[in-house]
Amino acid sequence: MGFGSGPLSHPLLVEAIEERFIPLLVFNNRDGTDARLLQRFGEPAWNNPVVRFLDGRGGDVIPRRDSVWTGDALAARMLAALRAAGREVPRWLELATEELAATRPRRAVLAMHCFWEGEGVLGALDGVIATRAGFVGAEEVVEVVYDPAPARYEALVEAAQRLERPGSVYCADDEQLAVARRIAGDRAVRRDVEVRTAPDADRKRALRASPLWWVPMTPLQQSRVNGALARGEDPTPWLSPRQAALGRRLAEAAREAPVELGRPPAESLADLAAYAAHVRALEVRSAPPGSGPRDGGASRR
């Protein structure tokens, strides 16, 4: 994936570039103004892409760096530039950076009395990238994908053991088993289990009951928003302003009548064009009479 089709097309990074910075393009292979700007900033022609962060006087906010072409590296530079410029660093951009940086996540499987509660609690923990409610045999479990920074597996097991009637801790290797044994005792077992996914209605229970369910999010955002809603907290710090605005519009529409947009976004990523059409149609139908066409595809019941 190239720089343009990857980091520069990631919607959360795009939103941050457009809303938290002033995006400026300089071609490094054209004459005229572009060539003069290359000379002014000492940039080579016909080079690989370079991003620089400048203040209002044209000075570098953070030192220039070459070969920053991955999403996590670019996002980290954006955070650094915002901090260096004394600007607010939005939580949703930090979250996107964390998710992009988790290139080698690990998996944990933890059983509990109720996976609704389990997904809400575990999905809110630092380092958790995604969660999935399901079953191992008859036991309710939550499968957690997490960024394996030190102590994070330990924190996961500890949190699971604080849930109501904790169950087995299924350990994929001896390293997990050693940690889990210290915390969960005999409930820790060395077994690389397959998790049978829970019925849709039981997954991300708190998020599914909210109009935010219809807002496209990354898996990590879904975990955090579900966790916040499960605890009765405000989920909006985990959402970009554009996502939050869509959520507000959907909530307003849902107050008038139950809204059915089609398949939920997280489960229908292969059919996003249709989903986007549903959302746009809903917006048209929510608009005052005469303000737009009414031939959208959304159904309201």
């Binding site: 343009g4 520069l8 919607p11 496209p216 970009s240």
Partner: protein, 67 residues
């Protein structure tokens, strides 16, 4: 990644594009792929003036097209 339904970053990107109101994939953005989905400005002096007024830093992409 583990056995979760792993979603490729680009697919995630397209998903969030729906929320962001940003053209996704081939839904109408004719810009060269090297420039991504960002709506770029081209006037340095105007961008510097805007930065001076708002405090927002410039995000300057030096890029070759075709790259």
């Amino acid at each position: 990644m583990g056995s979760l339904d792993v979603i490729e970053p680009m697919v995630i990107a397209v998903a969030a594009a729906v929320a962001a109101g940003v053209p996704a994939g081939d839904e109408g953005n004719d810009a060269p792929v090297e420039l991504g989905q960002v709506r770029w400005q081209r006037d340095l002096d105007a961008a510097l003036a805007e930065s001076g007024g708002s405090g927002r830093p410039l995000f300057v992409l030096f890029q070759e097209v075709p790259g």
